[in-house]
Symmetry: C2
Subunit: 132 residues, 2 copies
DNA sequence: TATTGTTATACTCTATAACTATA
DNA sequence: TATAGTTATAGAGTATAACAATA
């Protein structure tokens, strides 16, 4: 077809595939890696995390449970609200998160290998405009 | 960050969200809609379908079962190989597939609403280059 | 023997509804 | 009363391994 939308859908499938592949090599699901990457920068509350991942809070509970069982994240009590907790990465979690991020980026950049540098820059800029 | 890869990952998440939303409005899962769209053009064998969806054949069996239960696809025997079958859309399946495709495209195009036409064309072209 | 597809089984992912504890 | 998070439950998605039927 050639429309922007069709191109985006195709790309999205490709990215998913790469993401799933990388996650699997670490013994994780793509959802678990998404979670890991989100809490890598800072401790995040369950509510905020659920919104970022577009999940019901009850779905997130289980997801965090499973990643915590693998010792990649932990729940810490929120200092200002005794109902709440915040999810943080462990050292091992940070390590795995970094590996996944690096590998995903590496493989996606490889997909753009045959493109001219100028085109790559243009693409990055235009795609960034979309997600504003 | 601003790298191509990071932009692609962000876009992929956006597309996923749109796709899931549209599927849900039709009472379907995104996986079921992907299946539906793939068999919309022509009857496809289970093996080819599994490869296109990046699924194990056993996973596909269940997925097709569930979509068939909703009367959106049917299995027809392969004329040349009595082990095999091909999956085809029903009239209702074609209808739903068309709605989903139209809605996904509409919402994704809307995301690019604020872009100049020239930029949209450039984006479509560059993204197409990636998935070659 | 190899291939196409299904079945059996076990987990993961997800939503809805009801619940607990705190704000 | 409202909010943060969990639990209970049910259904969907997925992989692995074993299987049936046909090539």
């Amino acid at each position: 077809m050639g429309s922007v939308a069709d191109a985006l859908v195709r790309i999205s499938r490709l990215v998913d595939r790469v993401f799933t592949e990388v996650a699997r090599e670490q013994g994780l699901t793509p959802q678990q890696v998404h979670l890991l990457c989100l809490v890598d920068a800072r401790a995040v509350g369950m509510k905020e995390l659920a919104e970022a991942l577009d999940l019901e809070k009850s779905s997130l509970t289980g997801l965090v449970d499973r990643v915590a069982r693998r010792r990649l994240v932990t729940r810490i009590p929120d200092e200002h609200d005794r109902r709440a907790c915040r999810v943080t990465v462990t050292d091992e979690g940070a390590r795995v998160s970094a590996i996944c991020h690096r590998e995903v980026v590496r493989r996606l950049e490889a997909m753009a290998d045959h493109m001219a540098d100028a085109d790559k820059q243009t693409l990055a800029k235009l795609v960034a405009q979309l997600s504003d």
